[in-house]
Symmetry: D2
């Protein structure tokens, strides 16, 4: 449990950092939605604000006046219990409220929370505030990846920031870590913050296994490409094969072959690929296909969690072989917050770790991220097991 004082600091700091991420943007960059998975930055700014308004201020603050009644309709994401909302695919069609108005809305709500929490509040309200902060941190990560998609999809390939280093080699040698058979604890257990999907600490039995201490690199993935990895159906799931054929996919997202040399679009602009750096922006299907080709496999999320202490992680979200399912004794949170995780527990894959886009204080060994197998706009990567 965090004391109110430091919680408020954490709140202010988080609110500020969200805006820091958006500093390099032009007004126009805030508005567009090139694919349905990407939300306009303006929407992230508004939605994270609405979350505090909807779940804390509106029901629990007597003085609070809604900033604008229509904003609930505009900035609700997927909470069925909270009422109607703009269809997700329509977010990029909304020019209003303007960016300026959204920043005013942010300031208004930040101020109201700040005032409300000057006085001590009940524990459940502190908990709600903490959830809201972590929710905003999740959106900080999405902001970075969505901005990358917005700029990287533009024919002018604009630079976001010359200082944002996406690709750093892991400088140690690749080795196989040997993990012994046995019963291991899985899930979150301490007092500190976590989501409901990490709770229900429980035991799993793992057979002995080997897991790599290093992520697969751009150079290794290029070898896969040059050996016809995308053409050989034996490497692929049946629906993975359909996916690469339907979408004409033959390399990771953002890779460009220019006059025989491979470049990739990064937040620093278009640069040559660093062969020693971990590959990124690949789908689960591609990670699986590479592993098949190598005669290996992806680790399960339980293997990953058990071994994670023995290797560095944190630059790539790592695809696992595990489907996103409830832990034993999983209980979804009551009310609208119960819609946060449970209703997505089908047809998605678990990713573990964190990425270059993950804000500080927002990764832990038990954190479970999840995406549909074809998604590539996150900083995904993978390590092998066998």
């Amino acid at each position: 449990m965090i004391l109110t004082d430091s919680l408020l600091d954490f709140f202010i700091e988080t609110r500020d950092y969200t805006e820091t991420i958006c500093k390099p943007l032009e007004t126009e960059d805030y508005v567009v939605q090139p694919i349905v998975d990407v939300s306009p930055p303006k929407w992230h700014l508004g939605h994270t604000t609405w979350f505090f308004e909807e779940f804390i201020l509106k029901p629990h603050s007597k003085e609070y006046q809604l900033y604008n009644e229509d904003f609930a309709f505009v900035f609700n994401s997927y909470y069925e219990s909270v009422g109607k909302r703009v269809v997700r695919s329509n977010r990029g069609n909304l020019s209003r409220p303007s960016v300026k108005k959204v920043y005013e809305y942010r300031a208004y709500v930040t101020r109201a929370i700040n005032e409300m929490f000057q006085e001590p509040q009940e524990k459940f309200l502190n908990d709600l505030l903490e959830i809201g902060i972590h929710h905003e941190k999740q959106h900080q990560e999405l902001l970075v990846t969505d901005i990358k998609y917005i700029l990287g999809n533009n024919p002018l390939l604009p630079v976001y920031s010359k200082d944002f280093l996406e690709h750093e080699p892991e400088n140690h040698l690749q080795e196989w870590l040997t993990m012994e058979e046995g019963i291991h604890p899985i899930g979150h257990s301490t007092d500190s913050f976590s989501y409901d999907n990490e709770l229900g600490r429980h035991q799993v039995f793992l057979q002995s296994y080997l897991i790599s201490n290093k992520l697969v690199t751009n150079g290794e993935f290029l070898e896969f490409i040059y050996h016809g990895g995308y053409e050989n159906f034996e490497n692929w799931h049946s629906e993975g094969l359909d996916w690469i054929k339907t979408n004409n996919i033959s390399s990771p997202l953002y890779w460009h072959l220019v006059d025989g040399n491979w470049f990739h679009y990064t937040l620093q602009g278009l640069i040559p690929i660093d062969m020693a750096a971990p590959v990124t922006h690949i789908s689960y299907y591609e990670a699986y296909a590479y592993a098949q080709w190598k005669g290996c496999r992806l680790p399960t999320e339980f293997e990953w969690e058990t071994a994670q202490n023995f290797f560095p992680w944190g630059k790539r979200w790592e695809w696992t072989e595990s489907a996103y399912l409830p832990y034993p004794n999983y209980q979804k949170a009551p009310g609208a917050l119960g819609e946060y995780n449970g209703k997505f527990m089908v047809n998605q894959k678990v990713l573990r770790g964190a990425s270059v886009a993950t804000p500080s204080n927002h990764s832990r060994p038990t954190y479970r991220n999840f995406f549909q197998p074809p998604l590539r706009w996150q900083f995904t990567g993978f390590r092998l097991a066998k």
Copy 2:
């Protein structure tokens, strides 16, 4: 033929007026594309500019330096002969070039044209300039209707301008004009500007017919609705029926039933419907269905052109029964400009007249506008014949 001096004036005036239309916009309004038929205002600003650059400056001015090589890719609309281009449905995903850059591009090209035409130019260049001006005027009209769609599709229903009067009643009584059987000339014949699709002046034989001197009004159309006009299949084309069912259509675009009263979104904001004003934002299918229900029909474009002198027109583009087809002896213009009209002459309907969004100097009795039958975002309307 227009003298260079007045042509330059016409050019400058047209370039200015385009920007005047955009004055009430926020930066964000320039960027979005809520449906594929609507282009972002930013794109209209750039595309009309690119037209002068691509067809006049680049090939015919020795001093001219391209403003930005990539802009041809961004701002080409559909000219296959000119090279690759952004897919139409992707226009609303482009945050760059920024609005500011697009205005700079406009100023740069306007200045270059101005300088080039200080000296007398060959006739074909004057003709090209004139086409470019008329092209921009067409886009002025699209700008107004696209802006309306962008704002009218927004849940906040913002006002564009309190002064833009879309709906003015035609104050005369409805009467049937009797037109005699006979041979009539059709098509453009004078020296003044026209598009290639109006040329090939020729004769048609018309049977005698009656044509209304007044457009169908909101009140009359509401009667159609209240008499189950949208439910009775007998009024509809087979594909019109599919269209209203698939899209759940039961009133004109922009109509809202609020607590039992009909309002419509206009550029002045949401206002009650004026029953005496001409109905607008209806598809060809709806115009046809109304006519069927009334035991009437729509006029052909030849009937319209022959009778147009006897009734007021100019507030609504009027659907006709005519398909968009080449006139006898139709010749498309040589080169890229030949893509302007001919390649669209299938599966579209002709509209005649002009609308409240049409700029001055941009309507004439022989002008042929054309759209697919379901389109409604233009200020369309119709009059009856029998």
Copy 3:
């Protein structure tokens, strides 16, 4: 007007001929529907029968007992006024009623009509019977083309009949017929049978024109292919270009390039292409593109009707440049039969003539056939005009 006696003969003969067409089929061939435009032969057999039951026997014969109540649901095609029906795309999913049952149903209804018309009937009933016969003749033509599609789409490419000659050269030399400017009558005028869409005989004014006395041949069309006709965008309508790209089209339907030689699937099986025979199974888009490439155009339906006396026709339905629109004073028939033509008068093209699949007594100079521009499974062809 046809006397009842000969009308009954005409009826019996038509009913018989429908079954003759189906003689070479296996039971399985009656059932499938490889594309939505093709109906299973079983369905044609049932639908043409249902037409007599629904419009003559059920309302006008006191003794008649419905063969099976559910058949109206199964065999209604598109008559909204007659009640619910199987969705068109679902026809090929129905294994029942069996082919045997459908033949029993045919015999049952044929017998009932035969008995009913032993006694003299009112004129409107004779008219209905005549419409029903012509309706069945239309379906005879569809039966042939649908059977061809069913067999030609099968990887085993089965033979329908070694005697069915699709491709006969027109042995005269190609010449341009010169037609003078003037006023010409258009439409059906005699007592004999016609559809409502041919009526409303009226006058049109035609400019002078040239029209070819010969259909475009396979050899000529191959030249178009070899000169890159499918690749050069200048030949194509904008939507035609989309169509060939989306569907990977680069030759007429049923053409196969086998080891460098062109064959086509015909009702006689797979045979080499006869270069001197008229090309067939091409879309309007392809006919138009060929004409553009040749610097010619397609005739309008009015030009065709006016000139048709001066050239042979009847082996290919000929695409015209005309859109399918109502003639002046067009009146659709009252009741369900009014759904026969009028509701399709949008976004279709008129074809004139007849084809090798057209039954005898079912072609006339004023007959207006109509299809959407991309359709190719009919025996379509074209001649040039200029």
Copy 4:
């Protein structure tokens, strides 16, 4: 290991039984494919035959002559390694080869296998034969469910057999079985036949849990419906909710509300629902939603396998909460047979048990069936856990 003699008996018996299933069909029923998941019975007959031809006779019998070269193209299902094939959705468009020809093909291949295995063969060939037999048994189950779909989708709702009893109540009282926490073995271990996806026997740790000794009944599911189970979003996965909305689903497949009473189509025809019988033809989404509504959950496949000895099963395939994933040490079979299971291990759910359509000798406690969450045409059901 089964001796050759009894293996040949098993082969003959299996081949016969497949044809017994098809006895009640009309020729037409063999041909159609109303949805992509359903294959025409003719195709099942040919495909199970092709399997023996392709994997045993063609590569391993010197005397064998292919029955027809084109059949490999027609009857291959999804084996990429074996060559091109008819697209799955096109199976119902093929009228040829005729049913008669397919039966001849069956007899030809059965005879050839019979002759070949009169002489003792190497173990791997006996193993291949055994796989082929089990493969055919899987298709026997599909034949029953596909036939049900073909007939149940027909507006005439024909009876398959008055003797096929789909719905028998489980006559014991519902009780919760208590299972203790501990380590349990999972997977196939004996000599007898199994698929590769059951192998890799391994240990799992299970927390203590309760599991019902009885399947959820029609009556219980109806209660869910009457309590608004389909309307309350809280019961549903996000994509389950989309699925029921998009497809207008509000009851199990084959249920019909007739004048206020619930009936369902069964292989015996349309009959009233037996409230005491286990519900069937529900998707995973519906099973999950029911469990949510009850405050329970579905068991995992490991819980099911561990507890299966304590309750009756075998009438319904039972949805589990487990995703279909490889067991530790999963090895796919070499060559084309390796495509049998592994490439489907993503985005599917495991079902355990067997159904009324499962042939004898084709169920075992370790058998893993798998389907996408929305599929309903199998005899699916479910039991609760907590």
